[in-house]
């Protein structure tokens, strides 16, 4: 845990912003249809070891595990 917190501390502000943006944009907001299909393609979205903040990242990790 403390190691992860250190990792957070050294994150650039822009990285924290991206994590927070992921949390807001992927998890929240109006949904038009009953179902939304989105695809995970870009590995750099997944901050291995930094997934302490954002449930979206955990979701992405789950996808990666299934792919593996």
């Amino acid at each position: 845990m403390s190691e992860q917190l250190e990792q957070i501390d050294i994150l650039e502000q822009s990285d924290v912003s991206l994590l927070e943006t992921l949390d807001h944009v992927l998890n929240r907001g109006l949904v038009i249809a009953g179902e939304i299909t989105i695809s995970v393609a870009d590995i750099d979205l997944i901050f291995i070891g930094l997934n302490v903040l954002v449930s979206s990242v955990e979701t992405a990790n789950e996808v990666v595990r299934k792919r593996g």
Binding site: H24, V25, I32, I38, V40, L45, R67
Partner: protein, 241 residues
């Protein structure tokens, strides 16, 4: 061709001055403002069935929503809202009343986010035992997890109440999630009037100094992503390309 939908807003007196210059949306398509049932929607033309979750696309979605934030408070759509024009028209027609109510609720407000991590070993109850056999050690570990979890949940409740007290009078509406992930004990979203945002920040900054055992992540202002839900049945599916 389908539409990618970013957000909707009350038809403003000023026709989105921020869009006077072209705004580039997902896949490089220009963002357009269209009207349905007296509401304004920010959309762009989209080829294909689904949007890829990439850093660029996620940031683009948010930046398009933010492009009108200085003029009005929109209701953001979730990332990946790709629909036909008919689906969009039907959705607005069917939900117009709820959407207008929701727009009224967020009018003049912005969203602030506070996430709190409790960095402590107190979440573990007692210490591990090396003197037990495999079965007893397993049961002892389970007991530690259960009692530690209860302790953590109680702490989350206390911290949540404490946070609500700190921002009392500045928050129009709040959504709080207790222990939403293994690491977080509180994730709070606050709907704050625009004139109160600076005061809110100041009060939170002062408050967190009094809780050295807690790790805070305060962010915002955001478009009201958290407060846009009109309780539709939602099923989000992550496809893998």
């Amino acid at each position: 061709m389908k539409l990618y939908v970013y957000c909707l807003a009350e038809k403003p007196a000023v026709q989105f001055a921020a869009l006077a210059a072209p705004v580039v949306g997902i896949s490089g398509a220009n963002v357009e403002v269209i009207e349905r049932e007296g509401l304004s929607l920010l959309v762009s033309r989209f080829e294909g069935e689904s949007a890829l979750v990439t850093r660029e696309n996620v940031l683009t979605h948010d930046s398009v929503v933010r492009s009108v934030l200085s003029e009005t408070t929109p209701l953001p759509f979730r990332f990946g809202s790709v629909v036909t024009e008919q689906q969009l028209a039907s959705y607005i027609r069917t939900h117009r009343e709820k959407l207008e109510m929701k727009l009224a609720q967020v009018r003049g407000c912005l969203e602030m986010s506070v996430k709190i991590i409790w960095d402590t070993d107190e979440t573990k109850s007692g210490s591990a035992r090396d003197d037990l056999g495999p079965g007893a050690a397993f049961l002892h570990q389970k007991q530690r997890e259960i009692t530690g979890g209860e302790h953590r949940a109680e702490k989350a409740k206390q911290v949540s109440l404490w946070l609500s007290e700190q921002v009392e009078g500045l928050v129009k509406q709040e959504e709080v999630s207790l222990c939403p992930t293994e690491k977080l004990i509180v994730a709070a979203s606050h709907l704050v009037g625009r004139p109160e945002v600076a005061k809110y920040r100041g009060r939170v900054a002062e408050a967190l100094k009094t809780q050295p055992e807690l790790h805070f992540l305060v962010s915002g202002p955001w478009p009201p992503y958290t407060f846009s839900n009109i309780e539709l049945e939602v099923k989000t599916r992550f496809g893998v390309s």
